[in-house]
């Protein structure tokens, strides 16, 4: 006599010995929720070599496809081991489920098999090289196409989408004013505060004004605006264009002979090139205001005095150095944002991936370019 694994609605399985062979009795609810313990206990079955086996189903209370599968795979393995196996006592519905399991026995791959480590590493390196090469060509081609599109506007100015451009200017410029303003103001406050603290040691508090003016106008105004816009608009460009791509809207435009360059890329590009300098100028003002506030509250520099001092210390190029960078950074953000959007393909996941990539690339490029600009401007002495 074998032992019963469980009672009631619980599934159980019992092994008995008879004269001419063995029986395997299945009972209780053989359903998918009960399948893990059944799977384990079926592994522990053992029979004498070549003895015939009867699988008795009359005590089965419930059976579903998972249960039928477990029965079938047990019988299949026993038969393969040389036993004569037959089912007994199953209802018509139960036998039809077992038939289903029998006819649908086709184990398939769950995910693509990974090749071995060395091959995979070589493959990865190769893939990266190809991808970087491919991306470099593709992004150059993209810039070229954009330039060509812009050039064509000199001949066919009507193709330029003024409405879309103005709309984008509102989205990327006007709507960004609160956040850009607030952050620049706070940075002005921080620089003035930290600067004043250090400069007080030398009794040179008044130079706080010089510090704020130079830092905000040359670097912080533009850098902060560019980073905020990369996070705010660069990501939006990628996500918008990417989901249109997903939805086959870009393909639809192509077939209608509407260029996505005209409708999507150029308006965003122009809007950012125009709005970045304006936003930067506004960020500069807000930064100076923040500095002035701290100068007044903590150093007792009257606002008028701060203004006069600012007037004195601004050298011709402080403002210009910041503003010159603005359209370049704007163009960069728009190019990367749109390029990554058009590069989306396949799934929603790809949109997320390219959006992240667009923001990270833009910010990286902005900071690298800014470093080059700093060296360049110092070298030429402005």
């Amino acid at each position: 006599m074998g032992q019963r694994a469980a009672i009631g609605n619980e599934p159980w399985i019992m092994q008995n010995r008879t004269d001419g062979g063995a029986t395997l009795q299945a009972g209780g609810a053989w359903i998918v929720t009960n399948s893990p313990p059944l799977f384990e206990s079926l592994k522990t079955l053992s029979f004498r070599k070549d003895e015939p086996i009867t699988v008795e189903l009359d005590r089965l209370e419930r059976l579903d496809t998972a249960g039928a599968w477990l029965l079938y795979r047990t019988v299949r393995d026993l038969r393969a081991a040389g036993h004569d196996v037959e089912y007994k006592g199953g209802t018509e519905a139960q036998m039809s489920l077992i038939d289903q399991a029998t006819t649908n026995d086709a184990l398939c791959l769950i995910e693509e098999r990974e090749p071995n480590v060395v091959v995979r590493m070589l493959e990865d390196v190769g893939a990266v090289v190809m991808r970087v090469g491919g991306q470099a060509t593709a992004s150059l081609a993209f810039v070229g196409l954009l330039m060509e599109t812009l050039w064509r506007y000199t001949k066919y100015p009507r193709r330029f989408r003024l409405t879309a451009t103005v709309k984008q200017m509102e989205l990327v410029g006007l709507n960004a004013m609160p956040i850009v303003g607030l952050i620049s103001f706070l940075i002005g406050v921080v620089i003035a505060y930290q600067g004043a603290y250090q400069l007080r040691l030398f009794g040179a508090e008044i130079f706080t004004v010089n510090l704020v003016v130079t830092a905000v106008l040359r670097e912080f105004g533009i850098l902060l605006s560019a980073i905020i816009i990369a996070g705010r608009s660069g990501s939006a460009f990628t996500a918008e264009i990417g989901s249109m791509k997903m939805n086959e809207e870009i393909d639809a435009m192509d077939t209608l002979a509407i260029s996505p360059m005209d409708t999507l890329v150029v308006p965003r590009f122009i809007a950012l090139v125009i709005m970045m300098p304006l936003l930067t100028f506004y960020a500069d003002i807000m930064g100076l205001l923040g500095g002035a506030l701290i100068g007044w509250l903590s150093l007792g520099i009257e606002p008028m005095q701060f203004l006069e001092r600012t007037h004195d210390v601004i050298l011709g190029w402080d403002l210009g150095v910041g503003l010159i960078k603005a359209p370049i950074f704007g163009a960069l953000i728009a190019l990367i944002g749109c390029y990554e959007g058009l590069a989306c393909k396949g799934s929603a996941e790809s949109v997320g991936h390219h959006t992240t990539k667009s923001v990270v690339e833009s910010i990286f490029m902005i900071i690298v370019l800014d470093a080059f600009f700093a060296i360049f401007f110092t070298t030429i002495g402005v």
């Binding site: 359903i31 998918v32 929720t33 399948s35 893990p36 799977f39 384990e40 579903d64 496809t65 998972a66 599968w69 795979r73 519905a93 039809s96 489920l97 038939d99 289903q100 399991a101 006819t103 649908n104 026995d105 086709a106 184990l107 398939c108 791959l109 769950i110 995910e111 693509e112 396949g346 799934s347 929603a348 996941e349």
Partner: protein, 277 residues
Amino acid sequence: MAAEDLERLAQQSPEDARQSTLKDVAIAIRGLEVGFGGPPIIKGLDLNIYRGEVIGIVGGSGTGKSVLMRTVIGLNKAQAGSVWAFGEDFLTLSFFEQRRIEKRWGVLFQQGALFSALTVAQNVQVPMREHIRNMQQELMDEIASMKLSMVGLPPDAAPKLPSELSGGMKKRAGIARAIALDPEILFLDEPTAGLDPIGAAAFDDLIAHLRKTLGLTVVMITHDLDSLVTVCDRIAVLADQRVKLVGTIDDMLESDHPWIREYFHGPRSRAAGVGKR
């Protein structure tokens, strides 16, 4: 079979409706009202879905077929009415009690709604992984393979991502996921929309086959007259915010409601051979 007496359903007491779902009724919908702020999309809707039947839900575009299905499975909120399933008022249950009942039905959404980051086979394994404790990977692989074969997908489709499949294959994979836990009821939202006639006919066969072998109850929203004729036991027509008529195809042909007449006597229905029956 005569047209069902919808009046009678509307008069039934809640207790009777509840009791009926413990016997031959899979889902009993009573006085359902759904809206999104404006005028209600569905109002005073009554319907019985019997165990083991395939019921087709038809109606013009925008009459609220998808809304009805989403409400019954708890994705939309109802303003009034009740949905009885397995002896309980589904809509009044707590979130966790609803999860318990949801395991007993499977849903195929209009677009398939496969998880795009997972392979087809992994999609089928998601319900097992989520709802069954300690299920062995080997067993999940085997059962997923069986389900994929049951819905007629070739083995080489299993390790593919959904984006690499055709529309018909996505729907089949969606069905495989819906039947992963051997549900009692299967909800299908326009399963044959967007398939070619041969693919659609094969899909109808699949539904009939699964229903026969697994004893499923199937609720199928469809515009496909062929599906209605070949696989549906009964048809419910959604019009004027409620189920206007429910019955067999013959009941539909006898009706003098203008929309129903046009739908079942139009040129397309003749092409589907409806009138000849």
